[in-house]
């Protein structure tokens, strides 16, 4: 095959798999992917800069909005760093409740993922089932925090809402229901031929590649790497909880499915422990408005992998620097390796299998000249032309291919 046989196919930036932007340029030899380039940044909103201009408390709500799915992850990672700098001791009950919401968020995220994965492989019944079940945990989160997503549950020094005895019973009852449903999914993943055949050997990532590329979360654990911040660098109350880190040696999308389903079972176990061990007492300590000079690193096992926050205080009520590294930024770079030698049709599920979150990763700056009327609305043909010339500049040109197809059509 010569270079003429390599065709570059652009995927995205509009909705490459999920309803989020990311651009992938796939070099194809026939149906096989030989190379893949990634372009990110479409969701960059300048949040880190905005944090420096707002107070610590305002930042908490801003950072929570980095991502709608793992909002509690970002807010917890951030408050942990601030609490460390200020030397605030969060009361045990506060930490337990923070962890409870964290694990409920994991249930909501993993069930959401299971549905998306089902949808990507044309198994929409799975999507309907798992998203129906997900509503159970969404209702719980709404009852406990007041919101389905972006809970506003954390505050510097603890949490903002306590749990009542009736709510505890509700959570336990709902956990039983969810566990029953998850057992069904685990059985499905073990026996359903359509699912197994569609996911096995798709998006392979070896253990060596995981270690080389610094991959985190369920994606790493599905390649046999037992990496979990909750165990390795325990925060909140994870050191008091009895749970296992679920791994799989499949190294493919199937393994990533098994790991997430397995993790759900561990999470239910943790929720029960959290509720039975829940200590009495205050839920938050008083936090000062001004945070002293100092810096701290906070790591958090978000549903997608390690969330890393760095905060530096300068003695005022605004931080000097807030740095966020979401798990997708590192996992996304491994997708190129997973796709090498794979089929084009496997791209959506392979991408979806790292459970990407572009908003987390890019944290948009839009450059717009208000006086320039050319920046207004595009007509449909003009937009099409813009797309063609943009991709031509990147070396993706279908002129020859279109001519070939047109001449073939003429002959027919």
């Amino acid at each position: 095959m010569t270079d003429r046989d390599v065709i570059k196919v652009p995927l995205g930036p509009q909705h490459p798999a999920l309803k989020e932007p990311g651009n992938f340029i796939l070099s194809m030899k026939g149906e096989l992917v030989t190379e893949m380039g990634v372009r990110l940044g479409y969701n960059h909103r300048g949040i880190e800069k905005a944090c420096e201009q707002r107070s610590y408390l305002n930042d908490l709500y801003l950072l929570e909005r980095i991502c709608g799915i793992c909002s509690h992850s970002h807010s917890t990672a951030y408050v942990q760093a601030v609490e460390e700098i200020a030397g605030i001791q969060v009361p045990p009950r506060g930490l337990y409740l923070r962890t409870l919401v964290a694990e409920l968020e994991r249930v909501h995220s993993h069930l959401l993922w299971l549905g998306v994965a089902g949808h990507e492989i044309g198994f929409d019944t799975l999507l309907m089932y798992s998203w129906r079940d997900r509503e159970v945990v969404m209702d719980l989160l709404a009852a406990l925090t007041g919101n389905r997503v972006n809970y506003g549950f954390n505050t510097i020094g603890g949490v903002r809402r306590d749990i009542t005895d009736e709510q505890k019973l509700e959570v336990l009852k709902a956990t039983d229901t969810l566990e029953e449903r998850t057992k069904y999914y685990a059985e499905l993943a073990g026996h359903e031929t359509t699912l197994i055949k569609r996911l096995k050997d798709v998006g392979r990532l070896s253990k060596e590649d995981v270690l080389r590329l610094g991959v985190t979360g369920p994606t790493a654990r599905a390649s046999g790497v037992s990496r979990d911040v909750r165990k390795d660098d325990p925060y909140a109350v994870y050191a008091d909880l009895d749970f296992e880190v679920i791994t799989s040696d499949h190294c493919d999308v199937y393994g990533r499915t098994l790991v997430r389903v397995g993790e759900l079972m561990q999470t239910y176990k943790m929720i029960r422990q959290l509720l039975t061990q829940l200590p009495d007492g205050a839920i938050a300590a008083k936090a000062p408005r001004k945070i002293p000079k100092g810096q701290a690193i906070s790591r958090y096992e978000a549903p997608r992998g390690e969330d890393f926050h760095f905060v530096r205080g300068n003695g005022t009520d605004k931080p000097e620097r807030v740095k966020v590294r979401a798990p997708t930024l590192v996992n996304m770079q491994a997708v190129s390796t997973m796709m090498k030698g794979g089929y084009l049709a496997d791209m959506p599920i392979t991408l979806a299998a790292i459970d990407p979150c572009f908003s987390c990763t890019d944290r948009m700056i839009e450059l717009r000249d208000e006086s320039d009327t050319a920046c207004g609305e595009y007509s449909w043909p003009a937009l099409r032309q813009l797309g063609i010339s943009h991709h031509r500049a990147l070396g993706i040109d279908f002129t020859e291919l279109s001519k070939k197809l047109a001449s073939r059509r003429d002959r027919v």
Partner: protein
């Protein structure tokens, strides 16, 4: 804010592995004596010059088990830029290599040969702070858009949003 502001943890038996790490670093690089700070359990900081960055980084990766680069944090320190390479071990210890880079001169060499995923971390400090990392491969910028005006680094302390109004550039 400088590196010296990192609070030093009091000696305790719980910090044995962190002390060992400190000794290992200081015996491998005599010039690091007094530059290693134990902040708390699992948090160790070491101040290195731009030239020491690569030897210390590779030693930590190959000899001390710090196989993961969590991220690179860039800061504006006023007269110069700060860079923090956060390394993590399987044991959960985070070893942060703190170094500096000039605002207008060449910065440290790329570390992508040891950590391929550092590519986006490096592009981020290049885009947002203007650190001139040496040896970065050709490729897309991250995370700013293509039409972003040159010489504007949004995470520098003297940068304000109004600066965009002057050097306005819009994607074609």
């Amino acid at each position: 804010m400088s590196y010296e502001d990192i609070p030093v943890a009091e000696a305790s038996p719980a910090l044995e592995s962190e002390r060992l790490l400190q000794q290992q670093l200081e015996s491998a690089f005599s010039e690091l004596s007094g530059k290693v700070t134990i902040q708390r359990v699992r948090r160790v900081w070491v101040e290195v010059t731009m030239d020491q960055l690569h030897p210390v980084l590779t030693h930590a990766k190959d000899q001390l088990g710090f196989g993961m680069l969590c991220t690179i944090t860039g800061t504006d320190e006023g007269t110069h830029l700060g860079l923090m390479y956060h390394l993590a071990s399987d044991g959960g210890v985070v070893l942060t290599l703190v170094t500096t880079a000039p605002k207008d001169g060449p910065g440290p060499q790329t570390v992508t040969q040891y950590f391929p995923h550092a590519d986006l971390y490096e592009r981020e400090v290049i885009d947002l702070l203007g650190v001139r990392i040496q040896g970065v491969a050709d490729g897309n910028r991250y995370p700013l858009p293509d039409g972003w005006p040159e010489g504007q680094y949004p995470l520098r302390k003297d940068w304000t949003q109004e600066m965009l109004e002057v050097g306005k550039e819009v994607e074609p």
